[in-house]
Structure formats: C-alpha cells, structure tokens
C-alpha cells in the first residue's frame, strides 16, 4: 500500500506491506534509525515517537495507519548541531549511559513538557512510565527533565 508521511518536516512516499510496523518503516524503509526496538510487547518505549502531536509507541501502530500523518522522531529534535535544552540537560545530568532508551525518553519528555511545562517530580515519573531504561535507574533522567521544567 502507498503510504505518505511527513517525518521531521520531510515528506516520504513509500509502498509498504500492511503488516509492517511503523517502527520498522521508520528504521528500515526511511533509514531513520534513531528510534529503537527494545521489546516485542509494547512495554519498553524505545520506539516512542510523536504522531500528529500524540506520543505513541511506534511498534504498536502499522505504518499504513500513519498514512498522511506528521511524525516527529528524535532526529528532528535538535536544529542541526544545536541541541535542545532538554537534550543538553540529559548530558548535564548524566541521564543516559548506553543511550539505547534515550531517543524514546526524549520523545516522552518532549511530549510531557509541551503539555505541562512545569511538571512535578511525580508527574515526570508518571510521564516516563512507558519507557524502560536498564542503565540509569531513572533518577538522573527525572532530574534532567526537572531541570528544564519552568
């Protein structure tokens, strides 16, 4: 089936099998390998992206379902080499180690901050509940997000 999506401002048109998950479409067909796969049951959130303004796990959405959508992924956060305050805060607070969960974490935190620019610590943890990190224990991730909260 023909699928047209706009990812980080660029429009792509591809022919895909209906069974292809959005995450595989992004990674394999569009070569946007920033979003990752860490599980096969929709638990880990490493594939989190924002579709038409809504934070979703791209492993529980078919690529054909995203037809016509505007998608934001980790690759689109920074303007060129200019990291966002959130990305800088992750560096400042050592909120990443292996970096595999990081793209999903950043997307979840980005979605949170758009909706709630001054989240409490509990609200941050609740917003990151869908993203598994096995390296950091989350404390520094929460600190990083807190540091850019208004």
């Amino acid at each position: 089936m023909d699928v047209t999506v706009t990812v980080n401002g660029t429009t792509y048109e591809r022919d895909v099998e209906p069974r292809k998950l959005l995450i595989h479409f992004l990674r394999d067909d569009l070569d946007l390998t920033g979003s990752h796969v860490g599980c096969d049951t929709g638990n880990c959130g490493a594939c989190s992206v924002i579709v038409d303004g809504v934070l979703v796990k791209s492993c529980m959405l078919l690529a054909v379902q995203a037809n016509g959508a505007s998608i934001e992924t980790v690759e689109g956060l920074a303007e060129g080499d200019e990291l966002t305050p959130l990305q800088l805060a992750f560096n400042e607070h050592h909120a990443l180690q292996c970096g595999y969960c990081t793209p999903g974490m950043l997307m979840s935190a980005t979605a949170l901050l758009r909706e709630n620019p001054s989240p409490s610590e509990d609200e941050i943890a609740k917003a990151l509940q869908g993203n598994i990190c096995r390296c950091t224990g989350y404390w520094n991730i929460v600190e990083a997000v807190k540091s850019v909260a208004k």
């Binding site: 089936m1 209906p18 069974r19 998950l21 096969d40 049951t41 934070l55 379902q65």
Partner: protein
C-alpha cells in the same frame, strides 16, 4: 515482532466497517491496537484482515445526558476519557484509566478495545460490570444493547459476534465507586483487581480470577469478604500468583474497593 501477512482496510463509516467485518470471516476490528498488535507480533493470533476503526467519528465522543448517563464512544482513548469534563460525572472512570499502563498506551488504547479484548488482567471489564455499564453492539441488523454482565463471555471473547462492532458504552449516573488492584510494580501487569459500586447494596466485580469478571454483592462493605468467600473462586495460578493467593487478594481487594466506594 514481525506480523504475518494481513490485509488492511480503512472504512469511512461504521456501516462500511460492518460490511467489511461481515464479508471477511478472518477480519478483526483494529481499535487502539495496544493488545491486538502485540498478540499479532507473537503470532499467537493472526487475523486475515484488520478493519481500522481509527478516524470513525461515530465511534468517538463522550456525552453526558440530563439524567447523568454517560455515553462513551468505543474508540475513545483512555487519555481522552481522563481529560473529558463530561466523564468527571463518574470520577472512577478517569481515575482507573490513569493507572492503565503508560502515557503512550493511554494515548492509543481505547475503552472499546479494552473491554473487547477482555484479557483477564484488564482493568475495565470488572469496572464496567460494577458500574452497570450497557454496551451497544452494531451489526448488519442494526443495534442491540447488552449489559456488561452479559457482555463478557470468555478470555478474548465477548458478546460482539462475527460481523459486529461495539459502538458505545453507556454508564448510569453515580459516584460511589471504588477500585483496588495489586499490580507488578506501579501501573504494571495486574495480579488481581476489584471494582465496587454502592447503590443501596454493594456490588463488586472481581478481575483476574476467572475468564470473565465475577460479581459478588453484599449489604455493606463489611459483608464483602464473606461474599467473596461464598463465591468459591477457583482462579488460575500463574507465575505471579497461586490460585490461593489470588483468592486471598480477591477478598482483600474487594473489601478495599467496597470501602472506597462507601466512603465517597
């Protein structure tokens, strides 16, 4: 990961969706996909065709009638329900939805999908039973309505037959509700849960203990534990809970839910 081949259809109306479902034996409705897609990844089930209900306006929306009855479109997401001013009329709904999985799942997962999958660990089947929800099912011959009690038939099986769709859920007015669960970590997989509603007497629906929610009633919260014992539950054992432990949790959680409901 990696689904089997499947056809995909995106109907423009409920009628078209019903036609597609009726015409294709192996077709399944795709709601939020937060359960179905995962089951398909495991290839534990592989429908021949997915009929995508996303975008069908007739299946969304939350209305509050003058008598306090809430009518919720089956494709309403948990997030939409949590944010709905109308849904605050029955506060337990938003409260329970807020504990389902995580933000991403709540953004996609739908009320209709939750009840139609009727996984024994889901939160909404017992809640729908305790609040006395009524489910509207559309088919080729029009619509019919069944009570939540009649709706749940088995694991992954409901009164929604081949060629049919759950279109909306209506919930009568009320506030005296409670919900209690033991989960694997915060908002994790459910080990046992219970939903209670006080309407004169107490009505509790127990989740995770059988293929469908088990109803017990009592005069007051104090009598709930006895009522659960009298139900002679034989819940399944699994890695998280033996049948004995689940039986015990059912009793404790039923009482807690009933106490919460009574206290409102």
């Amino acid at each position: 990961m990696l689904l089997r081949e499947v056809e995909y259809a995106k109907p423009g109306s409920v009628a078209e969706a019903l036609e597609l479902l009726a015409a294709n034996d192996g077709a399944r409705a795709l709601a939020g996909g937060q359960t179905l897609i995962n089951v398909m990844k495991a290839r534990a089930a592989s429908p021949d065709m997915l009929v995508d209900l996303n975008g069908l306006d007739d299946l969304t929306g939350i209305e509050l009638a003058g008598d306090g009855t809430l009518t919720i479109g089956a494709m309403t997401t948990y997030t939409e329900l949590m944010g709905s001013a109308e849904a605050k009329a029955r506060p337990i709904l938003g409260e329970v939805c807020a504990t389902i999985a995580d933000v991403q799942v709540r953004n996609r997962g739908t009320i209709g999908g939750n009840v139609c999958s009727n996984d024994p660990t889901n939160h909404l089947p017992p809640l729908m039973v305790s609040v006395g929800a009524r489910m509207t099912i559309a088919g080729a011959d029009g619509e019919r309505e069944v009570s939540a009690e009649e709706f749940f038939l088995g694991v992954y099986l409901t009164a929604v037959g081949p060629g049919e769709l759950l279109t909306r859920i209506s919930i009568p007015a009320g506030k005296k509700d409670g919900f209690a669960a033991v989960t694997l970590g915060a908002d994790g997989t459910c080990i046992a849960n219970a939903a209670a509603t006080v309407n004169g007497s107490v009505r509790v629906a127990l989740g995770c203990v059988d293929a469908v929610p088990v109803i017990v009633t009592a005069e007051s919260a104090d009598g709930v534990a006895d009522a659960v014992r009298a139900a002679n539950l034989e819940p399944p054992s699994d890695v998280h809970a033996s049948s004995e432990y689940r039986t015990h949790l059912a009793e404790v959680l039923a009482t807690r839910a009933a106490q919460e409901a009574s206290a409102r």
